[in-house]
């Protein structure tokens, strides 16, 4: 990886700057020329379906993957430099913990790996236990914890050295809704302390709740970037979304939906309309074509709609 420029200009001091990043695995291009900037104190959502390249991008930033091209800098420093590593915290998707060690022992180990010693280490461990709300289970081996607690400890272990830039790789995978809410609260508390964060997920609601800006990634490329409102406005302008469910979603219906500029997914056709009167026209046309509608609804477009609009696929494909 080429050394990043450290010329004192506003962009070089960004918490994270990725420029033209490329990573190939044989024939597969997992990350295809990604350029991205993370602003100070910002939470940037990286939204994309499984296999879109989110994890490879994160692993490239954290130095676990050697990119085939492009640069990554943390506060202007090359990503694999010692100072960059000290500023960077990574919460991997896997539960990367020592299962026979207790929560406290895990945190102490990872703290030591980051160079913490003595009082600084103890303070950091106590902060992590408190932040993850596992102080009362601090001396319990990881294997005895519930799934939600393990997730929280996994997150805490990535933050033991109190980094300024945090990469969260789908931290809520396999977590039930109640435990997920607790994780959201932890992240919101962290955001209150001014850290900058990239949060990868394929759950639209998580990105909407936690992130100021959202980058939509598909096939290794950033296909849209902005706030939620900007993404929706850019994709749909002032149009609304009409969802129509057909009594029988056969090939004839699919052809008819395509002719009308819509997308049929799982028996539900999605159309965009500018004026409410267009809905009546749609109903009339379906009736004339002999396609029976089971129900129809009008909704304001969301990130899911944006993704579908941009890729023709659903986020959770």
């Amino acid at each position: 990886m080429a050394a990043a420029s450290v010329v004192a200009n506003p962009t070089s001091l960004l918490p994270l700057r990725i420029e033209g990043l490329v990573k190939r695995f044989g024939e597969l291009t997992a990350v295809d020329g990604v350029t991205l900037e993370l602003k100070s104190g910002e939470c940037l959502g990286l939204l994309g379906p499984n296999g879109a390249g989110k994890t490879t991008l994160i692993r490239s930033i954290v130095g676990r993957v050697i990119p085939d091209g492009g640069t990554v800098s943390i506060f202007g420093e090359q990503a694999d430099s010692t100072s960059a590593r000290a500023s960077l915290g990574w919460v991997p998707q896997e539960l990367a913990l020592y299962w026979r060690l207790t929560c406290r022992e895990n945190l102490e180990s990872f703290g030591q790996f980051h160079g913490l010693r003595g009082a600084a280490l103890k303070t950091a461990v106590d902060w992590c236990l408190d932040w993850a709300a596992i102080t009362d289970r601090a001396d319990e081996p990881v294997k005895n914890l519930s799934g939600g607690m393990r997730r929280r400890l996994n997150m805490a272990a990535g933050l033991i050295h109190r980094p300024k830039v945090i990469l969260m790789d789908e931290p809520t995978v396999g977590v039930d809704p109640q435990a997920r809410n607790r994780i959201f609260e932890m992240i919101e508390k962290l955001r209150g302390e001014g850290v900058s964060m990239i949060y990868t997920t394929h759950y639209m609601e998580e990105a909407e709740r936690l992130c100021e800006r959202i980058a939509i990634i598909d096939h290794g490329r950033i296909i849209a970037l902005g706030t939620k409102d900007e993404l929706v406005r850019n994709a749909f302008a002032s149009r609304s979304e009409v969802l129509a469910r057909f009594a029988k979603a056969d090939d004839a219906v699919a052809d008819w939906v395509k002719e009308r500029g819509g997308v049929l997914e799982n028996g539900i056709a999605r159309f965009t309309v500018v004026r409410a009167t267009e809905i009546a026209e749609l109903l009339d046309a379906a009736s004339k074509a002999g396609h029976e509608l089971a129900d129809i609804s009008l909704r304001k477009p969301n990130l899911e709609s944006v993704f579908l609009h941009l890729t023709g696929r659903e986020l959770r494909d």
Binding site: R64, T82, A96
Partner: protein, 438 residues
Amino acid sequence: MIFAIVRTALIALRRDRGALALSFILPIGFFTIFAVIFGGRHDTMPKVSLLVVDEDHSATSQSLIRGLEREGSLSVMRRPGPKQGVEQPEYTAATAEAAVKSGVATVALIVPHGFGENPISFGGGNGPTIELLRDSSDMVAPQVVAGMLQKVAMTSMPEAMAEQGSKYMDVYAGGFTPEQRKRIDAGIEALRKRDSAESSGQPTAAADPNHVKSNQADPNQGMPMPVTTRDVVGENKNNGMVSYYAAAVSVMFLLFTASGTGGSLLDEAESGTLDRVLSSRVTMGTLMTGKLCYCVLLAFLQLVVMFVWAWLVFNVDLISHIPGFVVMGISTAFAVGALGMLLASICRTRAQLGPLSTLVILTMSSIGGSMFPRYFMPEAIQKVGLLTINAWAIDGFTKIFWRDEPVSHLWPQVAVLLGAGIVLFAIARRFARRWEYS
């Protein structure tokens, strides 16, 4: 249902080709090693090394030694090998004893002054007797030499046998007539001439192995040639094989420990912990060094426990050998630890590591002397055994606990073990590069 279970397991095995191959190679490889060691041809069987000291320098003693040299099962050495091209002097009683103590050979034979005047006694007589110095850790070689000695006495010194026989005739049966005495003396002289011809390299009937009649001496009967046997190594030990097997078994299990410790790298790679560790300030080199240190510590503790047990239960003298034990223990632990790291870094999965490490460890243990002493093995296998950690480690521990050698004498073993450890670790580090980045 059962079919589905079998099918699932077979598919999983088939997908891990390394484990699949090793599950078949392991038994074949191990069988082959044992077949070579125990089922080898006779011409590959080990010779007994015998140091010979001729203090008598008589024709009789020379006949005896030449007879021993003709024995295919003995490797007779009259002097140490040349040093820097300079031939060394012949062994004396003192240097031969020192050589047995240092493990050059396990038996030395001393033919004393005056032996030639009265070589044969059949249990009687009061002349000087041959002395056999032995290392009692080798229970086979001294027995072989004692038996061979009696055989050679019968086959290689016919004139001495005849002369002694005629003396007995004179003493116990009234003697021969002058004519009989003349013929007997002529016969004895002919035997002497034949022996001289043999020593000058001319072929004789007696040199032909087909003409040598086997004469297995019975140590419990009156033997033709009296021999006194003296233990020069282990004479004060309770049981030499205890300290041998304390080292031999320890090294084998140290290898298993090292393999398991190295395998934790594979576990961490699979769980993602390795990625997390390597994303911190810890580098792959630091991580592997840390794992190696842990392995050395664990292996050394295992050795301590084993030898403390041997000391408490079997009276192995640990206390007076602590410096040598520590030096050999750390060197051995370092070498096995490095091997463990190499095995783990070569393998992709735990399923591959299991059979591979079992194959390597059992092979090294069998040819390296952890299962049975190397001197039981054919010479070729003994030489191959020197490629194993086991052989060098066991040799070192034997020097300490059996031969009571000082720590400074351990340098060859320590150098080989530390050198091997460094090389193995360097190779392991190279293989571990695949974990650093993808």
